[in-house]
């Protein structure tokens, strides 16, 4: 029988050099639990050491890019100084997990043309921000109300459910403050998901950005037994003029370029 430590090393090496799929991630978590003497990032640090060894003398960061990075940093740290809110369920319900493939056509699918050609977007995993949110003392409802009070010009748009089976009867709204670069989704009636199989992902379309490159607003879950959830929006790039919000069903961890196969919710600033 194969030594599980060999498999552990294989997965750690794979993680350090290419992405693991969902089943491999699950297997790695289990193996790391079984072998606590192994650090999860030990091979990643080794690969990083090699990276530094092989890296030629680094050219300076282009000034235009440096300015963008610095602007992103200012946005990021101004956001993190705002109170973050945990995901909290308000009232339980009996919704089902989304399953099967949805019809490709949606009422506003034309808005998604060109997405397949999109080169890149932020990769966001729930794990990167959820721990911080869970430590927050205040509730999301209160935080949402505070945001509305702080920014009287914050955008509030109603969700429109598409024809996707997971969206039938879904409703709610999305609140977005350009000033605070923060917002919340309020969602009722969207089918709960199994995070190991699928997750929901928010996309924010910004008028000042290429339409093919919507900003990733974060990956999130609808737990079973909830009929309303309030989810903090985690835009990973500054959003100047949001005009469309869309929620898709994606693989665990989310994607960079959506296949558009399953769009469940849309909130359009300029309907029609």
């Amino acid at each position: 029988m194969r030594d599980p430590r060999d498999r552990l090393q294989e997965l750690l090496a794979c993680r350090a050099t290419q992405e693991l799929d969902a089943s491999e991630k699950k297997e790695l978590v289990q193996l790391l639990q079984d072998h606590p003497d192994w650090a999860a990032d030990s091979f990643e640090l080794t690969a990083a050491s090699l990276e530094l060894a092989l890296n030629e003398q680094s050219p300076p960061l282009p000034e235009s890019l440096r300015r963008k990075v610095a602007a992103d940093a200012r946005q990021y740290f101004s956001k993190t100084r705002q109170p973050s809110e945990p995901i909290r369920l308000v009232q339980p319900s009996k919704a089902q997990e989304p399953s099967g493939n949805a019809p490709g056509a949606t009422r506003q699918s034309a808005l998604w043309m060109g997405w397949l050609a999109a080169a890149a977007l932020l990769v966001v995993t729930l794990m990167s921000w959820l721990p911080g949110l869970l430590q927050s003392p205040a509730g999301p409802l209160q935080a949402r109300q505070e945001l509305m009070a702080q920014d009287s010009e914050a955008l509030i748009l109603d969700w429109q459910a598409t024809e996707d089976p997971a969206a039938q009867g879904a409703s709610g709204d999305v609140l977005w403050s350009v000033q605070q670069q923060a917002g919340f989704m309020r969602i009722q009636g969207l089918q709960p998901n199994n995070p190991s199989r699928r997750q929901y992902q928010l996309w924010i379309f910004d008028r000042l950005r290429d339409e093919r490159y919507p900003v990733d607003g974060g990956v999130f879950d609808i737990p079973a037994g909830a009929d309303e959830v309030i989810v903090p929006i985690q835009a990973k790039l500054p959003v100047s003029e949001a005009h469309l919000f869309a929620v898709t069903v994606e693989q665990p961890g989310g994607v960079v370029v959506s296949s558009r196969a399953r769009i469940v919710l849309l909130a359009n600033r300029d309907p029609g």
Partner: protein
């Protein structure tokens, strides 16, 4: 103090953030330009990697690695993720037989007795084929499947070369007290 830079960043110190961008911007740009053939995509990758660095700065532990190694790890993690998901093509123009030759670097390019210099020595001790596969993975950013196709080495062998290669390099780092056997650094 240099080792405290990321701790200051984690605390939201604006001066530390600026210093961090100046210190590591070139490194991240260099990695991105190598991994992404499209310049605009490389720029996006750098922006994304820095945001990930701001998110994870508080996790830096000087007992585990140098700050530079930690930053390189965070950048690689995010860029590899992006590379795979976007189905982007890494820059491959420099794939050639020179990859089987030992790498020689001038002393001024790598600080001696750092993880990088120890890792380089370990890399040069690998068998030529194993070294080539590891370089295609680490330096060129090719997926295991792409390496198998490019080198006509079976996929299972590619995976084995990469796993054993990283394990050997890591073992050398452990033996040099750069990392401990659990992946923890034993000397600052």
């Amino acid at each position: 103090m240099k080792s405290a830079l990321l701790n200051r960043v984690a605390g939201g110190d604006p001066e530390a953030v600026e210093e961090c961008i100046d210190t590591y911007g070139g490194l991240l740009w260099s990695i991105a330009r190598r991994l992404f053939s499209d310049k605009a995509e490389a720029e996006d990758a750098v922006q994304e990697a820095f945001i990930h660095l701001w998110q994870t700065a508080s996790r830096f532990d000087p007992q585990r690695s140098s700050e530079k190694t930690f930053v390189a790890m965070i950048a690689r993690r995010r860029m590899i993720d992006r590379l795979r998901r976007a189905q982007s093509r890494p820059r491959t123009e420099s794939i050639d037989e020179r990859l089987v030759e030992p790498i020689s670097r001038h002393h001024h390019q790598i600080e001696q007795n750092t993880e990088a210099s120890i890792a380089l020595k370990a890399l040069n001790k690998l068998q030529p084929k194993q070294r080539k596969v590891l370089l295609l993975s680490i330096y060129q950013g090719l997926s295991h499947g792409e390496i198998a196709k490019a080198t006509r080495i079976p996929l299972g062998t590619v995976k084995s070369y990469i796993t054993r290669g990283l394990a050997d390099v890591r073992q050398t780092l452990v033996a040099s007290n750069a990392f401990s056997s659990s992946g923890r650094r034993t000397s600052p």
